[in-house]
Symmetry: C2
């Protein structure tokens, strides 16, 4: 497998997981959270498949393509280790869908970071809400769902808050 193969698998899986999660949570009213804007490609996709739903973007430093830059009032600037707890106070446990793609090239570092932010993300979901991540997360109470059709096992993870 080349790095191109791995990358394609990751992108295709991200899309499949987002499409699945958007559909599953389509009846929910709570906000959607995108953690990590980057180039803005997944944000662009989320806004297309969830038009009408409020999407808040958490990002340290906005450097996205101008074609997919969120409105200032939908952008939550800062380190997620600080902005997630603040958002919990602001929104409570209301999120219908949370997507995280915060990792870089260092897999070990990504895993450490996933462990660190899992407890910050966990309390934000409403009952029935889904969390989609490119990295394996470490939740106490959420249920890991099977990889949806079209996604490659291990390239994206989906979790649900059941109760």
């Amino acid at each position: 497998m080349s790095r191109l193969d791995v990358f394609i698998n990751r992108m295709v899986s991200q899309r499949a997981c987002l499409n699945y999660a958007a559909e599953q949570t389509g009846d929910m009213d709570g906000p959607v959270f995108e953690l990590g804007l980057g180039n803005g490609r997944t944000f662009d996709h989320m806004r297309e498949i969830m038009s009408g739903r409020p999407i808040y973007v958490f990002e340290r430093k906005v450097e996205s393509n101008p074609a997919s830059t969120p409105e200032p009032e939908m952008t939550i600037l800062g380190d997620v280790r600080e902005t997630l707890p603040a958002a919990l106070e602001r929104f409570g446990a209301t999120a219908s869908l949370i997507h995280a793609d915060l990792g870089g090239h260092n897999l070990e570092k990504n895993d450490r970071f996933a462990r660190e932010i899992s407890p910050l993300i966990e309390p934000m979901l409403a009952v029935g809400g889904l969390m989609v991540s490119s990295d394996r997360m470490y939740f106490d109470t959420l249920t890991e769902l099977p990889t949806p059709p079209g996604a490659v096992e291990g390239r994206c993870f989906v979790y649900r808050k059941d109760k």
Copy 2:
């Protein structure tokens, strides 16, 4: 279509065109040229599907992932508008496969650049050699081939030097 959809189509098409071109030119001895290293994902793929064939990489500034950085003796540093003519003197019309992915976000600029470098690339191919590009090229003597299976029309282009 979201930007994520477009991006996935581009990557998938790039891979399909490269796989096709590598197979079609598998019997040829001449060097392979990768124009634009970027992150190194397509280089990594090329080296996997064409192991044993010499792959020279043309790049202004090497900033690839360390896992897919070419050997110094296989790297041709500089602006392709200067290094392509120099490579023609060095190698003659011997290239078996040339891949170009030199573009950025500005489609108009990419098109202008494709027009500018087409005449520099055209004389480098051996008879039977293929050129794969993410942008439409402007060749006088090469034949445009149909998009190979698995690639999305308009997301990659394949040209052959017939005689």
